[in-house]
Amino acid sequence: MATIHIVPFVRASVSIFRDMLDLEVRSGETEEEGDSFVSRGFTVIVGFTGGWKGRFFLDMGGETAMHIASSLTGESYSTFAEEEVLLSGAELGNIISGNAITDINNNNPGLNLRLTPPSVFAGEDLSMFNVRLSSCSVLLQTDAGLVKINVAVEEGNK
């Protein structure tokens, strides 16, 4: 799949990480993924439909998720299963995808993308599987740890 789908999401992530979380993104590597990928333990999922159909994943380790939640709320957490950590992750996913979608819709009149509410999954040995979607990932290096952005878009609908 073309990387054009993921670029707005990367741009939104970098600016949100910098402005909201005070985290500088040092480097990003692109990876082509097949129809599945293995999570680091904490994943935020936001779906979108419209001219493109697919999903946006924000994937990170539990430690990174707790670090991000702490910088949002100012409190410290002992486990990533705490409700506020999940809520912070969901909100971050919502903000990033909201920004990216606005950017995409402004640059592509008529595409009219819309988002589903975010969902958060955390646990051991998580793996994601998308049928008939091919995806592309960018691995971002931040001070809080590695964060993977994955965008999966339905084939034939480009």
Binding site: G47, T49, L115, F121, G123, L126, F129, N130, R132
Partner: protein, 152 residues
């Protein structure tokens, strides 16, 4: 959440499952989920956008998923939860969502769905849509599973 939006999902699921050969499937329970923990290791999530906004999640155990995949393919044995049953279960969720959405259209609500995504793992904690989730339990010859509906 309006209860009139729930029945189209229940009927959609029962229709599709009957069509695929799961004859003994019955609705066994209905509850509101307050806690976040899911005890099931296979979750298929489909997003809804339009007249209704939210997520629908089918969750079940790996063994149930294998049994359902086996029934869907006319009784072919499915010993392992690999690519094939994953794909079958995703397709089931897609058909259930599609059927439910056309039921919703009959009551005047236009909804669009996102493609299904399957998430599997152990000791999972999940939060769907940041809203209260309605959990509907189903049980049949293949095992039991839950349909979680979270509408904003």
């Amino acid at each position: 959440m309006d209860i009139k939006y729930i029945n189209p999902f229940i009927n959609g699921l029962l229709n599709v499952c009957k069509m695929l050969g799961m004859q003994e499937l019955k609705r066994t329970g209905l509850s509101k989920s307050e806690k976040l923990q899911t005890e099931h290791d296979v979750n298929i999530i489909i997003g809804l956008v339009g007249g209704l906004k939210g997520n629908v999640v089918l969750s079940m155990h790996e063994a149930t998923a294998c049994h359902i995949a086996s029934t869907m393919m006319g009784g072919m044995p499915v010993p392992q939860f690999d690519l094939m049953p994953k794909s079958a279960i995703c397709e089931l969720a897609n058909m259930v969502a599609g059927n439910s959405v056309s039921n919703l259209q009959e009551i005047g609500s236009l909804v669009d769905i996102t493609p299904p995504t399957l998430i599997s793992g152990k000791n999972m904690v999940s939060m769907i849509s940041m809203v209260e989730t309605l959990v509907i339990q189903f049980s049949g010859a293949e095992g039991s599973f839950d349909l979680n509906i979270a509408l904003e």
